[in-house]
Symmetry: C2
Subunit: 202 residues, 2 copies
Amino acid sequence: MTIYYPNGQPYRKKGEETPHEDQRQVTYGHRGMTLEEDLNVSNQYYLHSDQAVIYKKPTPVQIVHVDYPRRSAAKITEAYFRKASTTDYNGVFKGKYVDFEAKETTHANYIPLKNFHEHQVTHMDRIRRHGGIGFIIVKFKKSNEVFLLDASVLSECWRASLKHGGRKSMPRTLFLKKGHLIPQHFMPRLDYLRVVRDVYFN
Amino acid sequence: MTIYYPNGQPYRKKGEETPHEDQRQVTYGHRGMTLEEDLNVSNQYYLHSDQAVIYKKPTPVQIVHVDYPRRSAAKITEAYFRKASTTDYNGVFKGKYVDFEAKETTHANYIPLKNFHEHQVTHMDRIRRHGGIGFIIVKFKKSNEVFLLDASVLSECWRASLKHGGRKSMPRTLFLKKGHLIPQHFMPRLDYLRVVRDVYFN
């Protein structure tokens, strides 16, 4: 039996292995729903209500060994997680290419920049240069606030962080000032496309 | 030592396992280059020459078991290949969302429709409805011709094939009539974006 903390996270003994996010069971109700789960059900809602076609990309895996048993499915017996060279989500909305990365933070007042990778920042710079829409979605778990922030702001913070004494995180106040709070409903759970419509289409 | 047939395919003894495409080694020179390899190097060329941002999605894998050894990388010890719910390639070109699937055929005069899946056809229908550009790239290996064909034509053939006595393949003559031959150079190896520019932008 799994015991849960009040925040919805499962209790684990010290040294016990943490399952990878792809294996994790969906927890009861909305409690403990991860940002990824919320986005996946929202994207399904957008797909089925024919508003947009946006998917999460599969987790990149380096396959080393595969068994091919007769009469049954090929079984991968050795593989490793690879770092993604792009962001996790992309698709099309009102004829425009949409591309984003989603992250949660447990810190009340900031998100460390190490949640993102340099090649993701480069990727989103390219997307914007080619006329696509690029942004990040960040959830502050303590306050349950989810923000959308244009990728150009991430890019600025990233460049500033590389300078001597540069700040290595993005403060919540920056999201309040330059970002957009995403409305949370029953369906879609995270209505980020409403924000995209208001911010990028006029 | 691997022995190669004149067509560039490796010789294997009967019963010997065929490696999955993700494991296959790149063969010498251009001989035996798969369509996927040609597209990957072309996409890298487009990326580095700043013409477009288009990637192949990772192979979708259902992860069943992961070992977390201390002091080393997480090792996936049981996983299976999943069917993709979308197409393999997408990205942004001149502000437009671009989405396609690529297939090879060894038949000189047709490609069987079973190379595509119903959900891929549905996906490309959605893409077009939302203002994206959707197409297929098909390589006829015998003649070394590579064609781009709008997804609407695939969709028509698919619907026709479901009728009683409907044709279950797409003939090469259809590609000659409604498709566009993709120029092959040294760089980019398959200049499909030149065709996209001519066909979808004016």
